[in-house]
């Protein structure tokens, strides 16, 4: 299985029936393809609606309805549109149960860096800073390393998106939870050992006494 699919499948299991969820661009968007049967989540799109559906069929795109990546999308029956102030009121006001985002770096204090690399890439934070501060749960879906280098660090070196807001990190190697004492490895992928995952993680991982095989 493709590692991105593995991550998306595992993240999808974190969602509960009825959750209001905001998915970031890229891999997080894939999560909606793997939501377990019997679980219905309501997707929020930061550019102004609740009740996002699937991508439209070719030829059925409505130029007035796009997702947060600017791509044509559909809305489900019962959806609602609103302006950006209401949209971010929903986000900041704690009305979103979970946001799923990618990351450049995450550290053992639950800090997140996801919006710029000084001198290289400065796309802007868009809605990410509001999402991370406002959503009830922040789930990071990312590949464990970038070109072999750890992304899970003792301390983020890139400019932060938010301080101490990350609730769960899901990578192709395992599931890690930031706690007050540090990072706890909760699940590990079938083909990975604890030594393997620690070797590519700069921060120290505490091993959950009930460490499980990653459930995908």
């Amino acid at each position: 299985m493709d590692i991105r699919e593995r991550i998306a499948r595992r993240v999808a299991k974190e969602l509960s029936d009825g959750d209001i969820v905001n998915l970031g661009i890229g891999m997080p968007t894939m999560v909606s393809d793997f939501i377990p049967e019997g679980v219905e989540v309501i997707l929020q799109s930061e550019n102004g609606f609740i009740g996002m559906g699937a991508a439209p069929k070719e030829g059925e795109e409505d130029p007035d309805i796009v997702n947060a990546g600017g791509m044509p999308i559909t809305v489900k029956t019962g959806a609602s549109f609103f302006d950006s102030a209401v949209s971010f009121g929903i986000i900041r006001g704690g009305h979103v149960d979970a946001t799923i985002l990618g990351a450049l770096q995450v550290d053992e204090k639950g800090n997140l860096a996801s919006w710029m690399i000084p001198g290289k890439m400065v796309p802007g934070m868009g809605g990410a800073m509001d999402l991370v501060v406002g959503a009830k749960r922040v789930i990071i879906a990312m590949e464990h390393t970038a070109k072999g280098k750890p992304k899970i660090l003792k301390e983020c070196s890139l400019p932060l998106t938010a301080v101490g807001e990350v609730d769960l990190i899901v990578t192709e190697m395992g599931v890690i939870e930031p706690t007050e004492k540090g990072l706890v490895l909760k699940e590990i992928a079938e083909d990975v050992t604890v030594e393997d995952i620690q070797a590519v993680t700069e921060a120290n991982l505490m091993i959950d006494p009930n460490l499980k095989t990653m459930d995908i």
């Binding site: 102004g48 007035d64 600017g70 549109f81 302006d83 950006s84 971010f88 009121g89 868009g126 809605g127």
Partner: protein, 217 residues
Amino acid sequence: MSKIVELEKALEYVKDGMTVMIAGFMGVGTPETLVDGLIEKGVKDLFIICTDTARPEKGIGKLIVNDRVKKLIASHIGTNPVTGQKMNAGEIDVTLVPQGTLAERIRAGGAGLGGILTPTGIGTVVEEGKEKITVDGKQYLLELPLKADIALIRGSKVDKLGNVWYKGATRNFNPMMATAADIVIVEAEEIVEIGEIDPNDVVTSGIFVDYVVKGEE
């Protein structure tokens, strides 16, 4: 009293160096006819306030590519590489603002508020130089209101009084920007008679709107 005018007449009010709010998210809900008109008219050194700079060939991106922007406030510039190049070359002074904060700062500007308190950006570079205020033990940043000389907005249906209805995701920053500028110009996808938009469906009241220009469908 009809507010409908020709494009050239509406754009007479936009002058070099002005602060201009332009609505839209990745170009959706952006008044493309007004943007094209600005480029044709030749105005320059604009201070643009917007969500994002779309793509080089779309929406606000066209103003960037055509060197009309001196200063920019936006939440995201990543989809238009030209913005980043001009920022790095020192040609455009860019300030990045979290999207929710931007929406509220504009809303505050139009609603007569002295600012807003938001937890967004605490502990990040966004807090630099800003006052922190603690309410019930939680820290917030004081973010100041934004206003403009001109707001360019886009409505799906607009009546002759300037009442606006927005379709789908085109609403985004339009309603807030319509309240926060001295002169508000609406590009209408469709112009309708007064009364054709049910008062319950009017999102932006005509009182905020100065001029209506017919745009492309």
